[in-house]
Amino acid sequence: MSTLEVNTITPQSGTTLTLGGSGNTVTLGSGVTASGFGGITEADQWRLNTNFSATGGDDYFTTNLERIDTDSGGYFGTGMTESGGVFTFPSTGYWLVMYNFSVAYVDNLQAYINGNLDVSTDGGSTYSRGARGFTSIDYNTEGAPNSSAFCTILLDVTSTANIKVKFGGNAQATNATFRGQTDYNTTTMTFIRLGDT
């Protein structure tokens, strides 16, 4: 086997460079670091760790949030930073943000409950509704009402200083409880960086 030692390989013409052909295997040597391929470099997941009783209006989680830390839960990359319920991205890029919320225990009521994922493009001064999940529960017919819903948004984070997200919900009635647990996930926020902006 011969060894080709060059610093750069570029197409002789055009912009396409092909290595091997159909049926071939192209292998990178052990320990090689390859860059420029993109791919997922960041993934992080947070959760509400304490139950939260809705006020009947727009509510936002401002505290009692934690990065998952049980059952081999983890993150890779730099990870999100959170302050007062506002999440900041560690780097620009296309980010998939997913919000799953669990609700329960509406005392003798029928109620709709929304989960809100709000996005700011001005550093957190103002927010608009980025995504909303809907569910409803009926205490009278179900007896032990619980429900979960989900919403998601793909964000082009062009500025980590300006693009922020926060989470919460809106319940038709007070005493609707957003479920928060520290031992397992109930209401969660997941962030995955899919690629460069």
């Binding site: 139950n51 009783s53 809705a54 509510d59 009692n64 005392d107 007896g143 520290t182």
Partner: protein, 92 residues
């Protein structure tokens, strides 16, 4: 869901994120913290009594609900409906 924990009682006291835990992995009274200064921290005994009352209320509500079902069923049977017909029509 039957109230079972201190947290179940606390969420019934006030709305909003008025409380949390110094150690969320150990949600006992000693670790209860109050985020909202306009709210008063309940005593441990108030929490114990409050949870017991919630459980009693829940159990009573279930009992009352079952009693209403049984009453409705017996009234329907008295009208001549069969058990199968009642189940099909009313789900009880």
């Amino acid at each position: 869901m039957r109230p079972e924990t201190l947290e179940d009682y606390l969420v019934s006291l006030h709305t909003g994120q008025w409380f949390g835990w110094s150690d969320a992995k150990n949600k006992v009274y000693a670790n209860l913290i109050i985020h909202d200064s306009s709210k008063t921290k309940p005593t441990e005994q108030e929490c114990i009594d409050g949870l017991a009352q919630l459980q009693a209320d829940y159990d009573q509500a279930i009992t009352d609900k079952e009693a209403r079902k049984a009453s409705a069923k017996s009234k329907l049977e008295a009208l001549g409906l069969t058990t199968e017909e009642i189940k099909e029509a009313f789900g009880i």
